[in-house]
């Protein structure tokens, strides 16, 4: 299992697709779970719509390549169907308005369902390589917190009180809680609260199943067979978030297996930016000044990027560092993915010979 994490817009989806393709090249049965692919890449992977099951991509490789675009809601529906003790109870939940809001409105749900899908494909799909993209979240490790957050949410004590018959409820709930409920009802209307109560009632008795499932998912994430790949770009904001990710993963005791830095600027000259800048000044009255300034600008950029990347790489020591250059166009077909793969792997499918931290 490979989990690609990083902030939005750094090329996570593309990197995930490259890894799955390489898996298929090496003769494995590989699947990539994407979250929000750019349209042309989705088309290239044969992903027209959100789906709950992977589709196979035919191609000239010894293994198999499968892909799916995560459908948060239907993944959640499948879980409800699995853990509801009766079809009637499942139906009651699936039709509840509050439930229908969960997959789009409760933060962390998409993250959890991505992990749930990873678990399901690993357990039941017969895949030898599962690569999962993660949602472009600002809340770094939402996908690790997500299972716990969701079960905590389903366990909400306040709403358990609300579900009790009136007299018992009044006894159990303190004055403060009663006031709180009144305020909520007054604020958003009692029908909104009724939807929520109906949901928690319908969900009664299923929390344990959900909690156990969440624990197994979490367990899989910390399994040595699961690798976390940190994907970033050398832009200041992306790097800042990557440092945060790296720290969070370390806290959770999860090692980063590799660091992929996309969109690195090339370095054109061994001379330093300052040196080149002063040569530009020497040429101030000629047209060469512009060309020297240009070279100095890109050299400065390359120097700064390299310094930042080296520092980040040291934080995830001893994970290998892969630098992918700024490419002339976005990757949106299998050919482009193969091309990109050359930066990540050498001809034998081994990681490309690049500097390690």
């Amino acid at each position: 299992m490979i989990v690609c994490c990083g902030s939005g817009g750094v090329g996570k989806t593309t990197t995930a697709a490259v890894l799955a393709l390489e898996g298929a090249r090496q003769g494995r049965r590989a699947v990539v779970v994407t979250i929000d692919p750019a349209k042309r890449l989705a088309d290239a992977l044969g992903l027209e719509t959100l789906s709950d099951t992977p589709t196979r991509i035919e191609g000239d490789w010894p293994g198999e390549l499968w892909a799916l675009m995560l459908d948060t809601k239907s993944t959640f529906d499948a879980l409800v169907l699995k853990y509801a003790p009766s079809a009637g109870q499942a139906d009651g939940i699936l039709r509840n308005r509050f439930y229908r809001n969960i997959s789009s409105a409760l933060s962390g749900t998409q993250e959890y369902m991505a992990m749930e899908k990873l678990y399901e494909l690993h357990e039941e799909g017969g895949f030898e390589l599962v690569v999962v993209d993660t949602p472009p979240t600002r809340n770094a490790l939402d996908f690790i917190d997500a299972p716990r957050r969701l079960t905590h949410f389903l366990d909400n004590r306040l709403f358990r009180w609300m579900m009790m018959p009136t007299r018992a409820y009044l006894k159990a709930a303190g004055v403060a809680t009663r006031t709180l409920l009144r305020v909520i009802s007054r604020g958003v209307g009692s029908d909104v609260v009724q939807d929520a109560v109906a949901f928690f009632q319908a969900f009664e008795g299923m929390e344990d199943g959900f909690r156990q499932r969440a624990e197994r998912v979490l367990h899989l994430l910390s399994d040595p067979a699961t690798a976390f790949l940190l994907v970033t770009t050398p832009r200041a904001d992306a790097l800042e978030e990557s440092r945060f990710f790296a720290a969070k993963l370390e806290e959770a005791g999860i090692p980063v297996e590799a660091l992929v830095v996309n969109r690195m600027h090339p370095r054109f000259a061994p001379a330093g930016a300052d040196q080149l800048r002063s040569r530009a000044a020497d040429q101030a009255d000629t047209d060469l000044a512009g060309l020297y300034e240009n070279l100095a600008d890109f050299t400065l950029l390359a120097e700064v990027e390299e310094a930042h990347v080296t520092e980040l790489s040291a934080r995830v020591h001893p994970a290998p560092l892969v630098r992918v250059p700024f490419l002339p166009s976005d990757v949106h077909d299998l050919e482009g993915l193969s091309e990109l793969g050359k930066y990540l792997f050498d001809g034998d499918g081994e990681p490309a010979p690049v500097g390690t931290a």
Partner: protein, 311 residues
């Protein structure tokens, strides 16, 4: 259009775009331009850690306003902060801790999606009504969250039929759809995916929110370099040290090819989106500080002055 007039078209400007396109930088440049045109400006951040405060040497922003520059103030408004203040103002301070700590807000936010966004936009509306600043620049959450954020009022009007939340949603919807009070500035980069997403976001905002879209800001354009086209001639002719020749040519070729790609994307953007473009230069500077924001504010003022606008 004159920058002062541009900044006075609406009291609220919402800056929106995909993550990584430079929304926060553009918000800062816009505020700086407005301040220089004589307007008291307030920047509102809705996400923590945007780096705006640090760019001005102030540390991260908080709910309390700070002065970033002459006539430029900044603060954050997050749902939790807005809720606490609301409860406080309505004499329910003791409840506020329970609401935010117990996860009840999560439950309520799921029951009525968009309620967190309404808490934030409701507070912005309050500031706008109070005339707290001549211009409020709202640095919106990253798209597609921007669409969700701005459609929250409409969504809540469907879900919540009574009470103060509904009243709040009605006020916010009124604010957003009044072109004399609010306009949205989309920000994008001259690259394939950001261009596609900008066009999609624009279409959705028009259709689902009915908000007035101002010009689109295209960030990160390579400024022209003299001698770039004639690089081969120049390097061959003059007494360029042998070691420098190839790097100069390579860097020039790289710049030309990136420039051409950017021009293609600008053309694609013009084709797919009928909004005037305000183009900002790519800054090679490794850090973002007051000097860089000044540069961008000046570039933005130039772009605004030269752009043709319908209104």
């Amino acid at each position: 259009m004159d920058p002062a007039r541009f900044c006075s078209q609406s009291r609220l400007v919402i800056v929106a775009g995909k993550g990584g396109v430079g929304k926060t930088t553009v918000s800062a440049a816009l505020a700086m331009m407005a301040a220089q045109a004589g307007l008291d400006t307030l920047i509102v951040e809705v996400e923590g850690k945007t780096g705006l405060g640090t760019a001005f040497g102030q540390g991260e922003l908080s709910y309390d306003e700070v002065q970033l520059a002459d006539r430029v103030r900044a603060r954050t408004i997050t749902p939790d902060q807005a809720l606490l203040e609301y409860l406080d103002e309505h004499g329910m301070r003791r409840l506020s801790k329970r609401l935010t700590n117990s996860g009840v807000l999560d439950v309520v936010a799921t029951a009525a999606p968009g309620i967190k966004d309404i808490l934030v936009l409701g507070k912005v509306k309050q500031l706008e009504r109070a005339g707290d600043a001549d211009l409020i620049v709202l640095d919106a959450p990253a798209a597609g969250h921007a669409v969700t954020f701005l459609t929250s009022a409409r969504g809540l009007l469907d879900a919540v039929r009574v009470g103060p939340v509904r009243a709040q949603a009605e006020d916010v919807q009124e604010l957003l759809t009044d072109a004399a009070r609010t306009q949205v500035l989309l920000v994008t980069l001259p690259e394939e995916t950001p261009v596609n997403e900008a066009a999609e976001t624009a279409a959705r905002l028009r259709e689902r929110v009915g908000v007035h879209l101002g010009p689109i800001v295209v960030n990160g354009l390579y400024p022209p370099v003299s001698g770039l086209e004639a690089a081969a001639d120049l390097v061959g002719r003059a007494g360029v040290p042998a070691d420098d020749a190839q790097p100069l040519l390579d860097a020039a070729a790289f710049r030309r090819s990136r420039h051409d790609l950017q021009q293609e994307q600008l053309a694609r953007l013009a084709e797919s989106l009928d909004l005037p473009q305000l183009r900002l230069p790519y800054l090679f500077s490794p850090e973002l500080g007051p000097a860089q924001i000044e540069t961008l504010a000046a570039a933005l003022a130039d772009a605004v002055t030269n752009v043709e606008m319908a209104s």
